[in-house]
């Protein structure tokens, strides 16, 4: 009886919603236009803050950003009028409205603080506030759409590739632009804008569509992504500041991808993973031309790389060997113990305590730049009139490294071995009873992951020019794990996103740099609570974390069918 009543109520609410829906689009459209126009108005009397936002009809800084938000809102509102079945512009508008609200609130706060009082706020900010509220109201009132992924429009392959290339070019532009912003407050508002637009488009279902296109055009997607990454240094005009951050991101990403083989594919938690990067770095340093190197042998770098990989792989096998007897939490602690032993050993082996291998806490400084057949990584080279500095040189090398790691990762994932790993994650004993060599595959995961990190380490030693034990503390392992968890266990794109976020934000938001670890601790807790599968989840992992989510199962099912067609 009661269910009937509730149902009646529901349909009445739905009725009201349906009647309001066309008006919702109008509201959102109006809000978008208001937002767009507010960018042309003056936001503050004070012309010294946030760029210069006091002049009318000459948008700068945050005024431009608010206009971008307005434009996206207008586009979504127009889509809301047409109501395609494969997009939900209403949800997107809700997100845009909310984000704009945060944006305006942040701007108001910044003006109040920096210029001294709310009186300094001009009409533009208030108009924008109204616009944000209108967009939010429009999005909220819009009828919800049950996304039907089967109605995705199929374009000609060349058009789909064009969309991918355009999206990536856009990404490159936004990245280059974002990195140029020096002012922290402006960077913050830009970040809110980017986040709002991204989340808005994702909520509207566009992300899934792009993913779907990407699925259909894997090769062009990968190639153009690398092209974009390759072009990045050319946008920097020889400046080293951003390239230094970029190289750090790449090393971090390569290591995190290696860790993702162990954690994401084989399902083994390794809390001492940074030791493998350290192993590679120490091997690289000890075999380098540095006057502090403790080993007399100076082989060419190619051999050093192989040595770094081999030594790290051996350590990987040693650290992985307890998997024969322990798993789960205990294994995590065992790996943590090994990681700490590595650091302490590097700290101690200074000649007074045990043999002199590492110069103890002082580490091995003075490692020279790499030199490949006369190509000196330390010097600036000019290509097509654009100077490429020291960090750009390392950037290209590291890009190759990341490409290699991605290749290893994705090919192993899609093979007999990858299937064995999934089987082990799903049900270890059943896997063994079906003839999967459980112990061997676990060891393999450790060895492959470790050798990739070791390889990264040998390059890192030269790029940093010194190696010290305090770079390889437990927190760094936790940080790597955070990149994997944040991005998405078992996916490449996820880890790249995670690594970029974790390394880039603290560098750019200098004021909060001190709060880096604090916020990432909180982030880990929140991610596990609300989105354990990460930002870019692998479908299977998503299922593992949400065993009882029927809707998700159905969705995954549909997509499986789509892929098989």
């Amino acid at each position: 009886m009661s269910t009937v009543l509730e149902h009646g109520n529901d349909s009445r609410v739905d009725g009201i919603r349906n009647r309001l829906a066309p008006r919702a689009a109008g509201l959102a459209l109006a809000g978008g236009v208001v937002l767009l126009l507010s960018g042309l108005l003056s936001w503050s009397y004070d012309d010294r803050i946030l760029g210069d936002i006091s002049i009318r009809f000459y948008p700068a800084g945050i005024q431009v950003y608010v206009m971008v938000l307005g434009a996206v809102a207008i586009a979504l509102a127009v889509l809301l009028f047409r109501r395609p079945g494969w997009l939900d512009p209403g949800r997107g508008l809700k997100a845009i409205g909310l984000g704009s609200l945060v944006f305006v609130a942040g701007a108001l706060l910044a003006i109040t603080v920096q210029a001294g009082g709310l009186v300094n706020v001009n009409e533009g900010a208030w108009v924008a506030l109204v616009g944000a509220l209108l967009v939010l109201a429009g999005g909220g009132l819009a009828a919800e759409v049950d996304l039907d992924v089967r109605t995705w429009p199929r374009l000609k392959s060349s058009y789909e590739i064009l969309i991918i290339v355009l999206a990536l070019a856009m990404l490159l532009f936004v990245t280059a632009y974002t990195l140029d912003v020096e002012n922290s407050a402006t960077f913050g508002t830009l970040l809110v804008t980017i986040l709002t637009v991204t989340v808005g488009l994702l909520m509207a279902g566009l992300g899934e569509y792009i993913g779907f296109i990407g699925q259909n055009n894997r090769r062009p997607l990968v190639l153009s992504a690398f092209l974009v990454a390759f072009l990045f240094p050319f946008t920097q005009g020889g400046s080293n500041a951003n390239m230094s951050i970029a190289t750090q991101i790449l090393i971090f990403a390569a290591t995190a991808l290696g860790l993702n083989i162990v954690v994401g594919l084989a399902g083994l938690l390794d809390l001492g993973y940074i030791a493998f990067l350290g192993t590679g770095a120490y091997v690289g340093a000890m075999l380098s031309e540095s006057t502090f190197a403790t080993i007399g042998w100076k082989p060419p770098f190619f051999v050093v790389m192989l040595c770094g990989m081999a030594v790290a792989a051996v350590f990987g096998l040693i650290i992985g060997s307890p998997t024969l007897r322990v798993s789960g939490d205990y294994l995590a602690i065992v790996t943590l113990g090994f990681g700490e032993i590595f650091r302490l050993a590097m700290f101690n082996l200074d000649g007074n305590n045990g043999p002199d291998l590492t110069n103890g806490p002082n580490g091995i400084p003075g490692i020279p730049d790499l030199n490949f057949f006369g190509f000196d990584f330390g010097e600036t080279h000019t290509v097509a009139g654009i100077p490429l500095g020291r960090f750009s040189n390392y950037y290209f090398l590291l890009l190759l490294l990341v490409a290699l790691v991605i290749l290893v990762f994705s090919r192993l994932n899609d093979s007999r071995i990858g299937r064995g790993w999934v089987a082990i994650r799903e049900d270890e004993r059943a896997a063994e009873a079906m003839g999967v060599n459980v112990f061997g595959l676990k060891l393999l995961a450790f060895a492959v992951g470790a050798s990739l990190a070791g390889l990264a380490g040998t390059i890192k030693a030269h790029q940093d020019t010194s190696v010290t034990p305090d770079q390889y503390i437990f927190l760094e392992s936790a940080f790597l794990l955070a990149a994997v968890v944040l991005g998405g266990m078992g996916t490449v794109a996820g880890v790249l996103v995670g690594a970029t976020i974790l390394k880039l934000l603290p560098e750019k938001l200098r004021e909060v740099n001190d709060y880096r670890l604090f916020s990432f601790g909180l982030l880990l807790v929140l991610m596990m609570r609300f989105r354990p599968e990460g930002l870019v989840p692998s479908k299977r992992r998503q299922l593992e974390f949400h065993e009882d989510d029927e809707h998700l199962v159905e969705l995954a099912q549909t997509e499986h069918l789509e892929e098989s067609k």
Binding site: L407, V408, R411, L412, S415, R416, I417, G418, R419, G420, V422, A423, E426, D427, R429, A430, A431, E432, A433, M434, G435, V436, N437, V438, L444, V448, R540, L543, E544, V553, A556, Q557, H560, L561, E563, S564
Partner: protein, 277 residues
């Protein structure tokens, strides 16, 4: 050792070759003797049934055969060679099993599940997989093809891309059988293959098992459904409290008063020990 000729004369010819031989297998957990010197011989192309009330030690016996447990005493030989108590080596030697409480890889598709079964009969390792040479491609294609073949064989040919967890119960049991056959066994151990099935599905499963036997495999089945067992098997062993109560043709076992007594009068110990295996 007890070898009983199978008087159940189905049209099928049972080979003389002994595939599996278990000699005085005993399994003790602390003071509890779950399996007490059980011997069993299985010939090529033979279907042997294992019955007994709950807690009789049937699944424990299976676990001893497949290397999940290391028997306290006794020996298991496959084709005359002693089996080491390691699940991995047992599978490679040619014995595969299904589980009483279905243990599929839930978040893998039906096809992927069967492909995992091919793992021990393929050999591409890390470097081959990364380089994707011709050998790798051939092996992947063969694995895929064989897996699809097996899905067709058990009647799941259209369920290829469905996640194992989404399959109906009966299909999950059949998928488990397909996954087990994928390991190219000579003998198949089925632990309650019709539990939870309706009569029609049970009937289909029976035909499937006959078909598997026709292809030359030996089959050992644990089941509580007596009608199913007596219609299916060439020979039946009845276990009670870890010991073989009687062994013989379905007709002999069916009419033995001790069997009826074991089921009706036997103490209803739960078989939690087995479930936890």
């Amino acid at each position: 050792m007890t070898v009983t000729e199978s008087p159940q004369s189905s049209a099928h010819h049972i080979g003389d070759k002994v595939v599996l031989e278990a000699n005085d297998v005993t399994m003790r957990f602390g003071g509890l003797t779950a399996v007490d010197s059980v011997s069993m011989t299985v010939h090529e192309g033979e279907i042997v049934g294992l019955i007994g009330p709950n807690g009789a030690g049937k699944t424990t016996f299976f676990n001893c055969l497949t290397g999940l447990y290391i028997p306290t005493e006794g020996k298991v030989t496959l084709n005359g060679a002693t089996l080491p108590p390691k699940p991995l080596k047992v599978v490679r030697a040619g014995m595969a099993r299904t589980f009483q409480n279905i243990r599929l890889f839930n978040n893998m598709t039906a096809l992927e599940n069967v492909m995992v079964g091919r793992y021990c009969r393929t050999s591409s390792m890390a470097l081959t997989s990364i380089l994707r040479g011709p050998k790798f491609r051939r092996e992947e294609a063969e694995t895929r093809e064989r897996a699809q073949e097996l899905l067709d064989y058990v009647g799941l040919g259209s369920a290829t891309e469905i996640l194992a967890r989404n399959l109906p119960y009966g299909d999950q049991r059949r998928l488990e059988i397909a996954r087990a056959i994928a390991t190219d066994p000579q003998i198949l151990l089925l632990d309650e293959p019709t539990a939870g099935m309706n009569p029609r599905e049970t009937e289909e499963t029976m035909h499937l098992i006959f078909k598997i036997r026709e292809s030359g495999l030996a089959v050992v089945v644990i089941e509580h459904d007596m009608r199913f067992i007596f219609n299916l098997c060439d020979r039946v062993l009845c276990l009670v409290q870890g010991e073989v109560l009687i062994e013989g043709s379905p007709g002999e076992v069916q009419s033995d008063p001790r069997v009826i007594e074991a089921y009706i009068g036997g103490d209803a110990e739960d078989d939690e020990e087995e479930e936890n295996a």
